[in-house]
């Protein structure tokens, strides 16, 4: 099977720091791929390169076998890659609805929308509310309240709902449950399974091993800026995974190719 999203030899340097060191990446259609690794291993750098947020210094990215050159997050988004960034990328002073539709606003039909470019707040508000209710993360009393008045976890809910609602090819989530409570984390895991059931592949970055081993089909172990190996969560244990990502154990030959 051909990977839907593939990267070869990605290199990203920040001054003297090499965040990505000839890193490879494969995501297959319909799967949940977890990416695990120590702090600073370069996981966020990897997904930022894949989602157009940073430009890799070297290497290639393929979507459905076609080489892509993303120069902005908007390019990747237009190609159907939707991302929840670790820092969430929400505008605090804008409302929940405005944030969900940022950069893809719906205009009114008819004269007002065509010539005066008036936004259709009613439709955007209704859709935003639906997406958030699907997620069950929070009941929003007021979809027009600014995001900065939400708690950290509620903000994370908005970012996750936005990505899940609009992703059409790939959904990438960088630590989507980091700020969430037990119940809300469970909702996000259920959402991940819903999204997969819709046939969309997901990249999940997480430090939470039970979550990773619960939802992932494959686990990409990231170490020192590159893919160390890929393990099958049904065959390996959490302790194996931790040993591999901290360097306490070397991967076996069978894991490297996967």
């Amino acid at each position: 099977m051909e990977p839907i999203l593939k990267a070869r030899g990605l290199v990203k340097r920040y001054g003297k720091v090499t965040a990505l060191d000839h890193c490879d990446f494969d995501l297959y259609p319909g799967e949940v791929l977890a990416v695990i690794g120590d702090n600073g291993a370069g996981k966020s750098s990897l997904i930022k390169a894949l989602s157009g947020a940073v430009r890799a210094d070297e290497g290639q990215i393929f979507l459905d076998g076609k080489e892509m050159h993303f120069s902005s997050p908007l390019d990747a988004r237009e190609a159907g890659i939707e991302t929840v960034y670790q820092n969430l990328a929400l505008s605090p002073a804008l409302s929940i609805a405005d944030n969900m539709f940022l950069g893809r606003e719906i205009r009114r039909s008819g004269f007002m929308g065509k010539y005066l470019r008036t936004l259709d707040r009613k439709t955007m508000g209704r859709l935003a509310r639906e997406k958030l209710n699907d997620l069950g993360l929070l009941t929003i009393q007021n979809i027009d309240q600014p995001v900065e008045t939400l708690s950290g976890g509620q903000r994370q809910g908005v970012a996750v709902a936005r990505a899940a609602a609009f992703g059409s090819r790939v959904v990438i989530m960088d630590e989507p449950t980091a700020a969430l409570g037990v119940k809300e984390s469970r909702k996000v895991l259920e959402l991940i399974q819903d999204v997969r059931a819709r046939g969309l592949p997901i990249v999940l970055i997480s430090h939470n091993m039970p979550h990773v081993f619960e939802v992932a089909d494959r686990v990409h172990v990231h170490r020192l800026g590159k893919r160390l190996c890929v393990i099958d969560p049904k065959l390996a244990t959490m302790s194996d995974a931790v040993a591999l990502m901290t360097g306490a154990k070397q991967p076996e030959a069978s894991m490297e190719a996967a």
């Binding site: 947020a53 908007l74 990328a89 505008s91 804008l94 944030n99 606003e105 009941t139 039970p210």
Partner: protein
């Protein structure tokens, strides 16, 4: 096979026995925090209250002289230029920038409109278009340096202020074009000085243009995608970029639009003065920033409304006229305005805590 349990952990079973309501927003709010919340959502309320209060106080002290349609519209006339330039300034400050070159752009464009007509004999309509083009070009250079070269807006526009002002003096050779000449040969240049009377009210077209510009921008900022993006860029440019806003393009468009609005102010300035004078309008950059700050627009970007700026400009107008009629030393006006500026920023900081 793994030894750990897969799927929901044991401790998670308690989730289902709990009530099934999801996270709610707890509304335990005192009057003060409610007020703060209200101000946070509608930041133009503070300047509106100050404006109404100041008008009432001066009305009581000065009586009918101040409370007349004539005096009220006189204030509008007097703040017209500041209000138009303030609209340009508001756009830039909403993106967390600042434009120190607005006053200079206004003067240079008015000189271009005048000199193109009188030195080169171009039709006035064409000269006005050239003036607006010059405003847009200077705005574009500002925007390009801020967005693409990533220089701080304060530095870029500080430099541009000097460059434009020097160009203005060099190009005009310090020469004023007299009002009579404009009146007889190119009345189009003075059109914004013409007045309409409704009873005792006297409105110049310049004052009307200010109100129209502010209303149009208020609509655009609130109800179009471009407007929302301006706020997003001022709020957090990195987040806006990641969320799919074309930050550089928005920034450049804001500076270009600011340049165009300054050129319109330059046109209105000719109407106001009657003549074209390269030494006029020196303080408009500071006046516009004053109106913006008193109007409750945050210098940190992303917060405030352009209507607030209009109230800010009117507050200054009310103080100037009121204290002038009362017969005090004009320095009292500056003293009070200075206090208002500091108070406005203090209120902004207090409101921001609502978010924390």
């Amino acid at each position: 096979m793994g030894s750990e349990t897969r799927g929901p952990q044991g401790f998670e079973t308690a989730i289902h026995s709990g009530p099934n309501t999801v996270a709610e927003f707890h509304q335990r709010r005192s009057v003060v925090s409610q007020l703060r919340q209200l101000l946070h959502q509608t930041p133009s309320i503070v300047p509106l209250i100050v404006l109404v209060a100041a008008t009432i106080v001066f009305g009581i002290i000065l009586g009918g002289r101040f409370f007349s349609a004539y005096a009220m519209t006189l204030i509008l006339q007097q703040v017209a230029i500041t209000g138009i330039v303030g609209a340009a300034q508001s756009l830039v400050i909403l993106t967390a920038g600042i434009d120190l070159s607005v006053g200079a752009i206004m003067v240079l464009t008015s000189v271009v409109m005048g000199q193109f007509t009188f030195r080169y004999g171009l039709p006035p309509f064409f000269s006005v278009a050239c003036g607006i083009g010059v405003g847009a070009l200077i705005g574009y250079i500002n925007g390009f340096l801020v967005a693409r070269v990533k220089l701080p807006p304060f530095i870029v526009t500080l430099g541009m202020w000097q460059i434009v002002l020097a160009t203005n003096f060099l190009y005009s050779a310090n020469e004023t074009i007299r009002a009579q000449d404009i009146e007889t040969q190119a009345p189009l240049l003075q059109v914004f000085g013409e007045t309409v009377r409704v009873g005792g009210a006297v409105l110049t077209y310049g004052a009307i243009m200010m109100v129209v510009i502010v209303c149009v921008l208020a609509y655009v900022l609130r109800h179009t995608a471009w407007g929302r993006h301006v706020y997003a860029v001022g709020d957090d440019p990195v987040a806006a970029e990641l969320a799919g806003v074309q930050v550089k393009r928005i920034l450049i468009s804001v500076y270009v639009l600011a340049g165009i609005i300054c050129a319109l102010a330059g046109w209105a300035l000719i109407g106001r003065l009657g003549s074209v004078s390269p030494t006029s309008g020196q303080f408009e950059n500071i006046n516009s920033i004053t109106a913006v700050v008193i109007g409750g627009i945050s210098l940190f970007g992303g917060r405030g409304s352009i209507i607030g700026m209009l109230f800010g400009a009117l507050i200054v107008g009310v103080f100037s006229l009121g204290l002038g009629m009362y017969g005090t030393d004009p320095q009292w006006t500056y003293l009070l305005i200075g206090m208002l500026i500091i108070a406005a920023v203090a209120v902004d900081q207090w409101i921001r805590k609502a978010a924390a």
